[in-house]
Amino acid sequence: MRYTARDLATRALRRGPSQQETHLMVLTPDFDTRPVISFQHVWKTYPTGTEALRDVNLVVPEGDFVFLVGPSGAGKSTLVRLLIREEKPTKGKIFVDGIELGRMKRRQLPKYRRKVGLVFQDFKLLPNLTVYENVAFALRVHGEAEHTIHSRAAEALDTVGLAGKENSLPANLSGGEQQRVAIARALVHAPRFIIADEPTGNLDPATAWEIMQLFLRINARGATVVMATHNREIVDLLRRRVVAIDAGQVARDDRSGRYHDDLSKSQIRAQ
């Protein structure tokens, strides 16, 4: 099922807000209908021969909130890596903000990436920098002034619940704490796009839920969010757009979806 920008425009109207969603709905913005991300017949084959993505088509309008779900090894992280041009597609085109990523000059790349807030599945913190410096780094590449950096980094760390750990090195943090540093770094410069790969994998449900609130709030302020996740509870609770990837293909694209479509879900439960 293809998902078009027009669908989105009428989304708020069509969906009857459930009880649980009421307080979230307040934060949900009206959608601009301009598609900011679009995948056109994208294939990705790794040098090892693995076909990670096969003919993926996907349109994400500005301000959308997309969950990428799917089994381990389906190709979710690959899709994310293409989106930030860590990898180039083997075939097909990817447009972000009207620019084709494959045609982007090497020199433009840093500028592009600064517009994006990234959370990686393996955190990718700088091991030689403290927690504070890791978060501040995302502001330094913007050339922000020292006092701006200081106040914004401190605020971001406070938001993810890491006030007091500023001077620790990543190696001296628990898994969940490292993940929260990665999230703080992605959010600190208020990016227009947030691309998060499994941001709650190492968090307990309560912390995970708090972090999700944060993503929703930033989305409400207009940022587009693409998030790969295995957290069934959160996906099922939020009822946002769900794109299911399976064996490198888009298997499902629901406007207000669940983690499993109803058929497969019952199968899993029956195991």
């Binding site: 930030i84 790349l109 840093p110 990436r113 994006v116 700088l126 780094f137 590449v141 913007h142 050339g143």
Partner: protein, 297 residues
């Protein structure tokens, strides 16, 4: 903004240096040793040129023995001819009597002097030649002069001087060759040290780029760290060389008295400049080359 980036680069180079102290000290140690070798090379080169200057001055004097009975006018004419020759910087005439006095004054000749009857020694012309290469030509000139003593014409040992010239030019080439090898070795080793360090930090570099850092933003700290490493190593090397320079010269002078090696404090300043500049350049170049490959997006 440039100022901010520079300050950040300085800060983070400094921190990285201290946080990876094991690797930093490894690099410092390697570069220190190489700079010590380079410094020794410079010092020995300097001493060699000092000594060679003295040697040249000595060997570029020849004395021409005048046959007994040569008219004095002929000797003066020849002396005149030599002193107007552009290759000659000075000529001195030593009479038979003066020569005898000199001979008797030498304690080596004590026994012989007593046996001498009359004056069997020749009068001689002592000629100072400007360029060592021209000594052979002056010698030939002297041997063609009719007034020369045929049994013992000059004290010029053509073979010996020629050999010295051959050898010293070969040693010069070999010295330059050794210096070149040393320079290549040091650059390669510094590059390797830093490239190894960078290779193992390539993940970090990748992360920086993913967060939106430009190439120079990533490179800056590495290059500055390289310069820092080079300067610290140069300082160590310099300290050791300066401490060892004077005692080594003294020792050499007392062991090999005839070579007029002297302690030259002025040279220390030029050595310091060379080592510090060399260390900084070596460090900067090494890290730049080391980091370049991984910084490409």
């Amino acid at each position: 903004m440039i100022y901010r980036n520079l300050r950040f680069a300085l800060n983070s180079a400094w921190q990285s240096f201290w946080r990876n102290l094991a690797v930093s000290m490894a690099a410092v140690l390697s570069i220190t040793l190489i700079l010590i070798l380079a410094g020794i090379n410079l010092l020995v080169g300097h001493a060699f040129s000092q000594v060679l200057d003295g040697f040249r001055a000595k060997v570029s004097e020849i004395s021409i023995n005048v046959a007994d009975g040569t008219p004095l006018q002929s000797v003066y004419d020849f002396q005149q001819q030599l002193s107007t020759d552009p290759r000659v910087s000075g000529v001195r005439f030593i009479t038979k009597d003066e020569a005898l006095v000199q001979f008797k004054a030498d304690p080596n000749n004590l026994v012989l002097a007593q046996q001498i009857e009359g004056n069997p020694l020749d009068a001689k012309l002592e000629v100072r030649v400007t360029r060592l290469d021209d000594v052979a030509a002056i010698d030939t000139l002297a041997r063609r002069w009719p007034g020369v003593d045929p049994t013992n014409p000059t004290n010029y040992q053509g073979d010996f001087v020629n050999r010295m010239l051959e050898l010293s030019s070969w040693l010069g080439v070999a010295g330059v060759g050794l210096l070149a090898i040393l320079v290549v070795v040091s650059i390669v080793i510094v590059m390797n040290t830093i490239r190894t360090a960078v290779y193992h930090r390539r993940k970090e570099i990748e992360v920086m780029k993913l967060v939106g850092a430009t190439e120079w933003f990533v490179r800056g700290p590495f290059v500055i760290e390289g310069v820092m490493t080079g300067l610290i190593a140069a300082a160590f090397a310099l300290a050791l060389l300066v401490i060892a320079y004077e005692p080594a010269v003294d020792r050499f002078r007392s062991d090999v008295a005839f070579i007029p090696l002297s302690y030259d404090p002025a040279f220390v300043a030029s050595l310091a400049r060379d080592l510090l500049v060399g260390g900084a350049l070596l460090g900067a170049l090494g890290s730049y080359i080391g980091v370049r490959r991984y910084v490409r997006l």
